[in-house]
């Protein structure tokens, strides 16, 4: 509606419930902005409302005027206009309370005009609110509005606030006193911090603190539906306010001490938070004044409270406080730390119940500052050393304490010369323990040496290094090995030259097993820039010599997959050396070795760009090795990781097919089929693909069943992953082979399983999203067409179920249910049965409705499988499934089946395998307790 058409009747008919007034206000604002109207004209137009005797009409008039002001931009109104408007709104604030609430909106808009509005007007407006509006009697949104006005004034009219002085503080205090709404509180806490920091509170600081501290600790439970305000946010905001100004120091610390003594966990947590936050703004003197109370209270809390999290808070708080205290007078601080060590040193006997807690306290105090750590080291370390020498048990724990304290000090001091001699003395202690038969002691010894590495004399270090190099190939318990390698890593990082020199000159001959251990140890430093090339060279050498080395290199590359290691292999032309080595093989090779070769070649080729890949391929693809297995392994390693569009040598498909047909080696057959699948997936030219597919389908008709299964499965996978229209045709082929052929079901495992990486994204294959879902739907529909499925069909469904995602399975569970039940009844394939039982257990655990809906059908089948004779894993899976039901489902659903289940489980508890019996007994017990009174 255009405002030109506005007449008295329209204006008088407006109500707050209807949004029309907002539109009118916006139009007014637009007209004022375009200078078509003056603000005076607007007021004139609203005359009938503003001057009305009826309160709702006056209210509406003020509301429209306020909303209009809200929609105006800066600089549109001049100072004089604003001054007049302010006076007008001051009058309105004194008007009827309904009108005053709407006027608040206008006041907010006015104070937002930061440049033009005169200071006096702002003061008048704010004073008027203080005098005439009783904040806490307003409704929640209006109170929020008042706080917004205060915040804006504080933010944009600081000079006005300064001139008001203590009056402003008083006004704010009286306005916020008693606020209860969490939303308002969270807003208050957010801006009061700035208020407290900028405004001088004077003699009102205690009043201000009282108004705020009444909320402490925040004991507020948000209703579950309303997740806008959380207790933590409120507590954080309040904490920040209570610690915003040094004026609150003493008050806040006494408050925190008082509440820390309470039994309420929240009170303790918030008090500790308050003490921590206070360290930012409060003075050092304040903390010093309360240091004795603080220390004794926190110490008591750490010793007596069993809540680990709270103890952790206590330690953190203690650390912050000590850090704060360390900034003040040095003498006082030292005395305090001496007090602490004196109190705690009596507890440092490992039999003492407070041993560990005392150590935690000392370590936190040491972490707080450099000087505290030095005092503690000087005072405590000799004591601990003595205890260690005398102790007969718990020696590792004492040593651990020594190591941790030493670490803390070294972190403070770095390499500076201030490191006390007590630490250097630890060297002997650590050296003694690394040869101790007690593994834990040995581990701590190495950790200690790592910590004091910078203090070890150079000569001693060289001896250490020599000893270490011998340990690299030794057989050690896992944790000792880990500690040794950690130490070795630190030395290598700090002294690369010395370490390198030693490693290069170490010529001790090693047997294969020790050699692999040596390589594994070197893995720990492979990512250090100084050692990368060296370690890779050692690995390359070893991998050419034996299969273990080759496997290890593969593992190393998979663990550190950032490509930098492979780059070194490429730079050193390792591929060439490997090919040369392969040339030497004359006798039959293990499949393991061939797989490892394949993986390694793939890893190297994968990292290269298309152009280099093409070069590498043409260089090596036509090599003729003596052994056919090596030929296939090398070729597959070269082809599989090629980027899309690089491969064009289609004659190789014929070669692979030929191998597939004539070879007896299972490795050759599987690999050839995989590679063909990989190639088909990556062919970009549709015609070429079509041609190849025609050829392959003709070939499939005549070949042996085994080859047919392999080839069809891999071709199907290649097509389904790229979402090819012909895919369904090939799946139909797979289903057709299932007829009368139990083995064919395994093909369906290939179809969806991602664990074989030949057709995967990392090898630049095209993997469309949701392909599994499509295949699964298609297959289930196909299988459902036949009334009676053979066992091969059922197994195929089982293999599909294994790899399909939960959501997909749930979406067509009803369709698949008939097949699943048939499998559970008839299949003898334990792998398939296990998969299905695990899936059902998973569904039960997550409380899926589908199982509950068909509980009768499913439960009877599961019961039958609890005595599945051929495999104990199926029996166990079935029993776990039954047990899960008791945990997840409501009693009344299961009760009708209780006696049937208990009777059947009576047979299972006499199973021939103990592991099955354990499950059965537990399961039976839980079914007995199903509805039993507890």
């Amino acid at each position: 509606m255009e405002n030109n058409d506005l007449d008295t009747t329209v204006l008088e008919s407006l109500t707050k419930e209807n949004d029309i007034y907002i539109g009118i206000s916006k139009n007014f604002a637009k007209d004022v902005l375009l200078s078509q109207l003056k603000i005076l004209d607007v007021i004139q137009k609203l005359q009938c409302l503003l001057l009305s005797e009826s309160v709702p009409k006056r209210d509406m008039g003020v509301l429209i005027l306020s909303t209009t002001l809200q929609n105006l931009e800066q600089h549109v109104l001049n100072a004089q206009e604003l001054s007049v408007l302010s006076s007008y709104f001051i009058e309105k604030l004194k008007d009827h309370h309904q009108v005053a609430s709407s006027a608040l909106k206008g006041v907010l808009s006015l104070v937002l005009f930061n440049d033009e509005i005169p200071k006096e007007s702002v003061i008048d407006l704010v004073s008027c609110i203080f005098q005439h509006i009783t904040c806490q009697q307003q409704q929640q949104p209006h109170r929020y509005l008042i706080y917004e006005i205060f915040e804006t004034v504080l933010k944009q009219h600081l000079n006005a606030v300064e001139s008001m002085g203590i009056d402003f503080v008083y006004g704010v205090i009286s306005s916020i006193d008693g606020e209860r709404d969490p939303k308002n509180l969270i807003y208050l806490f957010s801006w009061l911090q700035r208020f407290l920091k900028t405004v001088k509170l004077g003699h009102l600081s205690e009043e201000m603190f009282d108004v705020l501290s009444c909320y402490f600790p925040v004991d507020f439970k948000a209703p579950p539906s309303n997740n806008t305000v959380a207790r933590e946010d409120l507590a954080k905001g309040l904490g920040a306010c209570l610690t915003a100004t040094p004026d609150f120091g003493e008050l806040a610390i006494s408050l925190a001490l008082e509440k820390l003594d309470s039994t309420l966990r929240i009170a303790k947590e918030d008090s500790l938070g308050l003490l921590r936050m206070g360290c930012k703004n409060f003075d050092y003197e304040t903390y010093y004044k309360y240091s004795i109370e603080l220390w004794s209270q926190i110490q008591k809390e750490i010793f007596s409270n069993s809540d680990i999290e709270l103890r952790h808070y206590c330690l953190e708080t203690l650390m912050e406080i000590i850090r704060k205290l360390s900034l003040g007078d040095e003498k006082n601080f030292e005395n305090l730390i001496y007090d602490i060590t004196d109190t705690l040193q009596g507890n440092l006997l490992p039999e003492s119940k407070l041993f560990l807690q005392s150590f935690y306290i000392l370590n936190s105090v040491a972490k707080a500052s450099s000087s505290s750590s030095l005092i503690i080291i000087k005072k405590i370390l000799p004591l601990l050393e003595n205890t260690f020498k005398m102790a007969t048990s718990h020696r590792a724990s004492i040593l651990n304490v020594v190591v941790e304290l030493v670490k803390t000090t070294i972190q403070h001091e770095g390499n500076s010369h201030r490191i006390p001699e007590e630490i250097s003395c630890c060297y002997n202690l650590f050296c003694q323990t690394i040869n101790d038969p007690d593994q834990n002691l040995c581990v701590e010894g190495y950790k200690g040496l790592s910590a004091i590495l910078s203090c070890i004399p150079h000569d001693a270090l060289l001896v250490q290094l020599k000893n270490l190099s011998e340990l690299l190939s030794a057989s050690l318990p896992d944790k000792v090995k880990e500690a040794v390698l950690g130490y070795f890593y630190n030395i290598a990082k700090t002294y690369p030259e010395e370490t390198r020199h030693l490693l290069e000159n170490d010529v001790t001959p090693l047997d294969t097993i020790s050699h692999v251990r040596y390589l594994e140890s070197l893995d720990s430093i492979v990512m250090l820039p100084n050692f990368k090339v060296y370690v890779m060279e050692v690995n390359m050498k070893c991998s050419l010599n034996n299969i273990k080395g080759l496997k290890h290199l593969n593992e190393l590359l998979t663990k550190n997959c950032d490509g930098s290691l492979v780059k070194i292999l490429i730079e050193k032309d390792f591929l060439n050396s490997l090919m040369e080595q392969l040339q030497n093989h004359k006798t039959c090779l293990e499949n393991n070795y061939l797989q490892a070769v394949r993986l390694l070649i793939s890893a190297i080729v994968r990292e290269q760009e298309a152009e280099s890949q093409s070069e590498v391929y043409s260089l090596y693809s036509n090599r003729n090795f003596e052994l056919q297995t090596v030929n296939v392994a090398a070729l597959s390693g070269l082809i599989v990781p090629l980027r899309r569009g690089v491969f064009s040598d289609y004659s190789k498909i014929g070669y692979l097919l030929e191998n597939l047909k004539i070879s007896d080696e299972i490795f050759i057959k599987e690999t050839c089929a995989e590679v063909i699948g990989n190639l088909l997936n990556k062919i970009t030219d549709e015609l070429v693909l079509e041609e190849n597919l025609c050829h392959l389908s003709a070939l499939c008709i005549n070949c042996e069943t085994e080859i047919k299964i392999l080839l069809t499965s891999w071709i199907s996978r290649a097509l389904v992953t790229r979402n090819h229209p012909k895919a369904s045709l090939w799946i139909d082929n797979m289903i057709a082979i299932l007829e009368g052929n139990l083995e064919a079901a395994k093909g369906f495992k290939i179809l969806l399983n991602d664990s074989n990486r030949s057709i995967s994204k990392e090898n630049f294959c095209e993997i469309m999203p949701l392909y599994k879902q499509k295949v699964f739907h298609y297959c289930i529909n196909k299988f459902n067409e036949t009334r009676e499925n053979s066992e091969a069909h059922l197994n195929a469904v089982g293999y599909l179920l294994e790899d399909v995602s939960k959501i997909v399975l749930l979406s067509i569970f009803q369709k698949a249910l008939r097949l699943i039940l048939q499998i559970m009844e008839r299949s003898q394939n334990y792998k398939v049965l296990k998969v299905i039982l695990q899936r059902i257990t998973d569904f039960i655990q997550n409380g899926e409705q589908v199982i509950e809906d068909n509980l009768d059908d499913i439960l009877t089948r599961i019961l039958k499988l609890t005595t599945f004779n051929a495999s104990m894993s199926v029996r166990i899976a079935a029993l776990r499934c039954l047990h899960q039901m008791v945990v997840s489902y409501k009693v009344y659903k299961l009760l009708p089946m209780k006696f049937m289940v208990i009777e059947q489980l009576g047979i299972c508890v006499d199973d021939r395998k103990r592991l099955v019996r354990i499950e059965a007994m537990e399961c039976r017990s839980s079914w007995f307790l199903l509805d039993a009174p507890i």
Partner: protein, 160 residues
């Protein structure tokens, strides 16, 4: 606490829990028959809760593997349990809990005998007699208050 508000044994001695049974490859071989043994029965009853303390019978050494005899061919299981103090009024209740647990978990072919370890309880013969009497056990299990306490003892809060 089920009976009264004063603990009979206020400060029982605690013992360490034994480690879980080590599983060997043989256990996964479906063709080998595993006979019931001492340890298996012990594993069944070790986690029964004491009626008085939040502890298991194993932690209080009320049941111990050495005091269990299993005769697989004769279908006999014999268990001696040791009350923590000689005048323990919970002895019958503990015995009943062990009986009920085994009744529910062991195959029906076994004849289970639960008795107090000789010389560890003042009224051993009385307790033994009660536990051996099928009628009395059945009657006890029909007492709703009693069965509630027994169920609480048997309920295994921790799996395994």
């Amino acid at each position: 606490m089920p009976f009264g508000d004063k603990l009979e044994n206020q400060n029982p001695t605690l013992y360490l829990k034994s480690a879980d049974r080590f599983i060997i490859d043989q256990d996964y071989d479906d063709s080998i028959v595993d006979e019931f043994d001492q340890r298996e029965i012990f594993d069944l009853i070790r986690n029964i809760n004491d009626p008085e303390h939040p502890l298991t019978l194993e932690q209080l050494h009320v049941v111990q593997p050495e005091l269990i005899t299993v005769e697989n061919e004769k279908n006999n299981v014999h268990i001696n349990f040791t009350p923590t103090i000689p005048h323990c009024s919970m002895a019958t209740l503990i015995g009943l809990s062990i009986r009920v647990k085994l009744l529910r978990c062991l195959p029906a072919r076994f004849k289970v005998q639960v008795e107090v370890t000789p010389g560890t309880h003042n009224a051993a013969s009385q307790v033994n007699k009660q536990l051996a009497d099928k009628e009395r056990v059945a009657a006890a299990l029909e007492n709703s208050h009693l069965i509630k306490v027994i169920n609480q003892c048997i309920e295994n809060k921790k799996r395994g």
